[in-house]
Symmetry: C2
Subunit: 225 residues, 2 copies
């Protein structure tokens, strides 16, 4: 009984996600669904990425938050379109809420649309939002066992940012164990070892992300949309 209900919810979510994905494909917007535990650094990643890439690409952000607009306020100074979705206690975003707010963006001019999901390593990985890909952010201070203990996200993600490497020396984080657990789940996934505050690994991240955007934008030019 409960399984049936859950399946209906997921079916409805999948239909709407497919619609969103079709629209993003038509408009050639790269949509990145960022997922992490609370406090792993999603908003700081967006700050750093906007600083670097706003001069180069047209960027928008959908901010998923349970109750506040604190994260959105931190991004206001970049002068980009931002929409906040407050889930009112809900533990993840769904494709319906995403499809409802897409009208707030000029999709024809947009290159890159970030979704900062609710801080939660579990539920957001189970709901397709129609994104181009999921991005996993995990920090060294959470421990090296996160891929093994929360495999869904790490199986699905297209890249992993291992953040707070500046704090690694003060923890018992075992990089080898982290990487080998991850490899078992997702053998070819790129891992960027970063410190969003100190700057480690960010050039590699900007380059990789830019490549993703450029191939999407080139494809937009060639399709004349």
């Amino acid at each position: 009984m409960e399984i049936r209900i859950m399946k209906n919810i997921l079916d409805r979510n999948q239909n709407r996600a497919d619609m969103v994905r079709s629209l993003m494909y038509l408009k050639k917007v790269l949509m990145v669904n960022i997922i992490s535990s609370p406090g792993a650094g999603k908003t700081t990643l967006l700050e750093r990425t906007c600083e670097k890439l706003c001069p180069k690409f047209s960027i928008g952000v959908i901010e998923g938050d349970i109750t506040t607009d604190r994260d959105a306020r931190r991004l206001e100074r970049y002068n980009i379109p931002i929409v906040v979705i407050n889930t009112e206690g809900g533990c993840h975003l769904d494709s319906h809420s995403i499809s409802k707010v897409l009208d707030s963006f000029d999709l024809d001019s947009l290159d890159l649309l970030f979704i900062e999901n609710v801080g939660n390593l579990i539920c957001p990985s189970q709901f397709d939002l129609g994104e181009t890909f999921k991005l996993a952010v995990v920090s060294t201070t959470e421990g090296d066992d996160k891929p093994a203990k929360y495999p869904m996200l790490f199986r699905e993600a297209k890249a992993v940012l291992l953040n707070k490497v500046d704090l690694m020396p003060y923890t018992n984080f075992n990089l080898e164990s982290f990487r080998s657990d991850l490899k078992r789940l997702n053998p070819n996934i790129p891992v960027f070892e970063t410190s969003f505050t100190r700057g480690d690994g960010l050039e590699e991240w900007y380059n990789w992300l830019s490549d993703q955007v450029v191939s999407s934008v080139n494809s937009k030019a060639s399709r004349g949309v």
Copy 2:
């Protein structure tokens, strides 16, 4: 429609939670439901607490994990009864799963039963397990904005362990802002500033927890159960 379904699930959960709570009251077992983000230190807290309090009290543990038994294995050396509940992807424990595993414990001799919930700051705080109280664990590396952004848990918890204070100097964590947000949600909640690895604050925690157990055990003696 979805609200109705959710309400039924929560109603059924509440009924079973009330049953569990009645049983714990009768057996005078202090049941502590530990909730935190992934990697905040729940299992290390249990290690430290078992080392210190196992000689004094009869302790059991219910380990909630999505897929592995890694946390339970870390506790094996304390020679205490441990039951693992794998949620198979589920984002929280519910009162049905708790009630099913209670038979595995000798409740008449047990003083203290820990539940290590799934690592998730959101969903577990919405499901009553029949616990005596919820305990919130949050680490400085997650940022000082967690009470404001994830208020449900901090409103409900009976105490907060602010862990990883040894890493605070390397972060931008603002203790004053953390405490004032928390005070707005839960004015009289005790906050223990701890480092489970370095030992800060643990004596205060042991003393506070022991007081909770002793008053429950005394009550057991006086009730002759």
